[in-house]
Each structure stands twice: as structure tokens, then as C-alpha cells.
Amino acid sequence: MGIRLARLRAGAVTAALAAVALLLAACGGGGTPAGSGDGGAGGGGGTIKVGLLMPLTGQISQFGKQTSNGAKLAFEQKGNQVGNYKIELVEEDDKNDETEAVQRVQKLITQDQVVAVIGSVSSRISIPISEVLEQSGVVHLTPTSTADDLTPGKKWVFRACFYDSFQGRVMAKFAREHLNAQTAAILYDMTNPYSEGLYKSFEAAFKELGGQVVRVESYQKGDQDFHAQLTKIAQAKPDVLFLPDYYNPVGLIAQQARQVGVQAKLLGADGWDDSQLYELGGEAIIGNYFSNHYSIEQDNPESKAFVEAYRQKYGEDPSALAALGYDAANLLMDAIQRVIDSGGDPTDPEQIRDALERTEGFKGVTGTITFDENHNPVKSAVVLETTKDGHKYVTTVEPE
């Protein structure tokens, strides 16, 4: 999920948080949460508390529930237990609201004393909470937030998904190598950093791979008429048209593009991943491509087992978000396991953080994960085709 925040706001939130954190440290005479102390170190066992922060109500509640379901399935499969330690999940609802999310995280840190927080879905929320967790020295692992500037320079922040720049590169590579496209045009939402980030990375990669970007046009959030921009794009006759936005505007753009005679294949990113894309885009959206984190048709044993278990528990196919939630939970438990194996104290956030950073070749549902220096997983992306029967797996693009 992308971000839609004014950067200014993030700055203000950060400053406020820094002040709150200082205050807390002064009052609490320590401030660093240390897990629930009763188990103590050694092999005697105990309880490790983990926070799960998701938008369970509000505009993107279905995304929150899917991600949360994936994570819970992972914990359940392990019997909420790692080694001799019991894992206690504390779930909170951030309502997809920055202020609410920060309050919930404060509660998780000070009251529940969690060692790690898994969340949230959109980068707009994950960025402010990452600032709090970074200050407090608690592990932050987001399953789904793709904004480039979420993790760099932060010691405690990790993610289980790839980031936007990589996604732009994937589609540029796919367009050049798979579709043999010579020319590309781009139409993006200039008021949405998610859309802008994708456009920039796609443009750079497409040029680097020897293609030509013939038109770049933009619109604003809430616009519903794109004829003027599309008329110019039609004139340039590109082989592909990149539409880095959510399914909602993309459906409309696809229809209007066909009306003014744009013949290009349409390309997109993970924002397309919703069945509403087909309702809003109709015929015009069929036969195009977008990148995603995961496909249930992916042919590996981890994925097959996961799809089976998820269907059994929830009675529906897992989405890419559910798969990422599942991977995030397993990444965390894997790190905790390694702390225990090496004789460390798994109630100490610092030791879990160190172990998480050293994750190497972790076999997840969405790919094999090793973290780079910015705590971004280096892993593959899938390209899906939009067909009359829904998304269809086309190919997997590896990071270079």
C-alpha cells in the first residue's frame, strides 16, 4: 500500500512524538520496555508479547482484516509458542488514522510492553508509528507498507514487502523484455506520493533499459475526467501506458483511454489488486498487466500449504496482503527462535532486532527473504494479467 500523506504532517507528528517520548522517559525512569519480565532469561520459558496494529475499521478495513488474518494464521500454526516461550498477541485497531495509530502504539509500548509491533497496512500510518517505535527501541515490522522512505536510516524498522522503486523497475523490465515495448507513456496522480514514486522509478528504469518515455501526464486526486491527458497520450502512440495508482481511478482511466483511441497495453502496480477493478474498468481493463507481491497460483510448496490452510480457516482465497501478514509473523517468530537457539533472551527487543537483521534466505510464501542494508527484503515480484476470470499469473521477476 502506498502513502497519501502530506509530508508536513509527518514532520509535525514526529516532533510531537519526540516530545512525548522524552516526557515518558522522564516519568518512567527508564522508558525502554523490556517484555514481560516474569519468565526471565534462560530456558525456563515465559511470555513474549507481540503487538498487531491494523486498520480493522474505516476505509480500508478489508485490507486490515486480510493482513491480520494472515498473521494470526501463522501464530496459530505454531501454537502461539516459540521454544519454551508463549507468544501473546495484542491486537489493536488504528482506524487508518495517524493520530489514533500513534496512540495505540503508545499503549502497546508502555502498557502491554510488547517486544515488537506488526503493522500497519498503509505507509501513511506506518511512517508515523515507525518514528515512535524507533524512539522507544521496539521492533517494527510492517507487512505491507511499500513507501521508499519508510525504512532507510532507521535501526528498528523492517518490512516484509518489496518497496515502490523496485515495483516500478519490475514493470519497466517486464515491458521491455516481455512485451518488447519501445515506447512508454505515464499518467500518474501528482497528489499521491505512492503514485509519484512509482512513476519516477518506472521512468528511470525504462530509459535505462533502452526504452523511450514519450509522454508523462498527471492528474489530481478526485479528478474523473482524463480525456485531455489521454488525447495527448493517444497522439504519441506509446506501446505501453503505465498507470501507477489504486484500482479506483485506474478503472475510469482505462475506459476513457479506449474512448479516445489509446491502443497501448496498460501497466500498473499492487494498487490494482482488487476485484472492484473489473467492475469499474469493464471491458477496457481486460488484457493488461500489473505487478504484485504474490499470486495464489505461484508454484512453490510454502505457498501451496499456506493457501490450503488459509482456505480451511477463513473459507476464502488469501490475498497478497494476507500472504504478507503471514510472512511477517513467521519472520518475527523465526528471529525469536534464533535468539532462543543461541541462548539469548527472547524478551529483549534488542536481541530480536539483531536476529531479524541477520535473517538470511528465509523461505516465505511471497519469496525468499534476505534483508538489505535498509531492512528491505530482497525478493521477487510477480506480474499478473487482468482477464475475464480475474487475475492470472504471468511471470515472476527477480531482483537483479
Partner: protein, 300 residues
């Protein structure tokens, strides 16, 4: 040249929508000198009412049946919105009549937020695909693609404009409206039922918004609870540009706005969002009465 003609058509298409919403704006302002910022949201409600009727009835129908459903949905939406307009006027605006304009303006913004959030609760925040009532058809006139649906929007706005102008200038109700617009107290002394005239004004304005709502739903085939905000704002600018209170002015302002936006967009699309507001500032600075709004007596 081809691209110029095509962009001209695109501009008229966008402008026709602004014009349609601007008509309702300008009429209410003309009569009671109040900017009804909830107008864009009444337009949204109109689209949802039409959506409810259309989804109930539409399923793989013929073109003729589609048009019949379209007409029915339009009537239901107009009646529904007229009632909504009367309700808003009675409960939110009438108790504040006589207070300063700022009070009425603030209340209108409150009503606007109320409608948006209510619809979000009732229909959910996600956009809905509007059923296809009029089949997609693109006429190729020479090298230019013209969308048939947009021609319908343009035609409907012209009909509405003429009808409205007739109503205001040549009927008893219109005469009463002009009297209220000119001097509300004198009109009351002359035996005009001011409350009733103002209520009718809101009902007609809201019905016009409903027409805009269903047409936009049909053309773009997507509606959501916040669809009224941006077009409402731009239609307001269009009304100011044409001379707020002036009916042909609203039409002209809407079409000019659409053309200006597309013109800027075809040079540099990053700047499109600013066009409406640059126009607003320019009009307010250099010709506050708008293009057609100088003859004060005709203001209705």
C-alpha cells in the same frame, strides 16, 4: 489541428458538467444571496438515488428499456433531491435567515459534511460502478471522437438553462422569486409568501443538482460519497465567472471553465488543478460581477 479540435470537444464535455451544477448554484444565490456549499453534495445524493433505482431495475436491457430506466431514475432522483433540498432549507437555513451571511455559509459547510458522512455510512466509502443505461457510443466526426453521452449532457444543460430562464422570467413563481431577490421585506409586504418562494427555490436547485448527478453517473460510470466536492467547487467558480446569480452566465462560465482546464492540461497537465482557482482570483480582482452579471435587476 486534429488534436486541437479533439481537445476542444474534450473541453466542452468537461464544461457541460460544470455548467449543469453551476445552474443550481447560481439560482439559489440569485434569490437569497447565499452560497449553498451543500449543493455539490445534493448532486452526490442525486447520483446515489438514481443509482439505487437503476441497479434495482437494470439488467442486460435493450437500449429502449435502458433509456426508460434512465428517465425514471432521473425523475425519482429529482423528486428525492427536491424533498431533500426542502428539508435542508427548513431545518438548517430557515432558522438562520436574517443572520449574517457568514452564519449561513458555515451552516452550509456543515450540511455538506453531514451529507458526505451520512452517505459514507449508508452506502460505504468505496466507489460504486454505475449501471450502463445508455450504451457507450463514440461518433467519429472526421478525425474527432465525440462521446454520445456527453452530447446528451450538453443538450440537457441547454434545455435546463432555457427552462430555468423561462421559469424565472415568465411565470408567477419566477416573478415572486425576482421580487424576493430584489427586496425580501418589500416582497413580504406585497403579500409574497417569502418562505414558500425560498423553499421552492431550494427544491428546484436541488432537482437540478440531481439531474447533474445522474448524468455524471451515466457518463463516468462511477460514483462515491465524495464525488461532489471538487466538481461542486469548480461549478461554484464557473458560476462566479459567468456572474453569480445569472442563469445564462452559469452556462457560459461552465463551458469556459471546461475549455480553460483542457487547454492548460494539453500544454502541461501538472497545472490543471490550479486553473479553476486562478480564474476565481482573476475574476474577483478584475471583474467581480462576472462576465454577464452586470445588470443587477436581472439577478435571479
Amino acid at each position: 489541428m486534429d488534436i486541437f479540435l479533439q481537445q476542444l470537444v474534450n473541453g466542452l464535455q468537461v464544461g457541460a458538467v460544470y455548467a449543469l451544477i453551476a445552474l443550481g448554484y447560481t439560482m439559489v444565490y440569485g434569490v437569497i444571496k447565499m452560497i449553498n456549499f451543500a449543493h455539490g453534495d445534493v448532486y452526490m445524493v442525486g447520483a446515489y438515488v438514481a443509482f439505487a433505482v437503476a441497479t434495482l431495475l437494470a439488467s442486460g436491457q435493450t437500449t429502449a428499456a435502458g433509456l426508460a430506466i434512465f428517465a425514471l431514475a432521473m425523475v425519482v432522483a429529482m423528486v428525492g433531491c427536491a424533498l431533500l433540498g426542502a428539508l435542508i432549507e427548513r431545518t438548517a437555513y430557515r432558522p438562520l435567515r436574517g443572520q449574517s451571511r457568514m452564519v449561513a455559509l458555515t451552516t452550509a459547510i456543515g450540511v455538506s459534511l453531514l451529507l458526505e458522512n451520512l452517505m459514507q455510512i449508508i452506502a460505504g466509502p468505496n466507489p460504486r460502478p454505475f449501471p450502463e443505461l445508455i450504451p457507450e457510443q463514440t461518433w467519429n466526426v472526421g478525425v474527432v471522437h465525440v462521446n454520445a453521452k456527453f452530447m446528451i449532457v450538453l443538450a440537457v444543460s441547454l434545455v435546463m438553462m432555457v427552462g430555468l430562464q423561462y421559469l424565472v422570467m415568465h411565470t408567477r413563481l419566477g416573478k415572486a422569486m425576482r421580487a424576493v431577490a430584489y427586496d425580501i421585506d418589500a416582497a413580504r409586504l406585497m403579500g409574497v409568501d417569502v418562505n414558500r418562494v425560498i423553499a421552492y427555490t431550494f427544491m428546484i436547485g436541488s432537482a437540478l443538482a440531481a439531474v447533474a448527478g445522474i448524468l455524471v453517473g451515466t457518463v463516468y460510470q462511477r460514483i462515491d460519497p465524495f464525488m461532489g466536492i471538487l466538481p461542486g467547487l469548480k461549478a461554484f467558480v464557473a458560476a462566479v465567472l459567468g456572474g453569480i446569480g445569472n442563469i445564462p452566465g452559469a452556462m457560459l462560465g461552465g463551458l469556459l471553465m471546461g475549455l480553460a482546464e483542457v487547454a492548460v492540461s494539453s500544454v502541461r497537465s501538472q497545472l490543471t488543478g490550479a486553473v479553476a482557482f486562478v480564474i476565481l482570483i482573476a475574476v474577483l480582482l478584475f471583474k467581480p460581477t462576472g462576465l454577464l452579471g452586470e445588470r443587477v435587476y436581472d439577478k435571479v
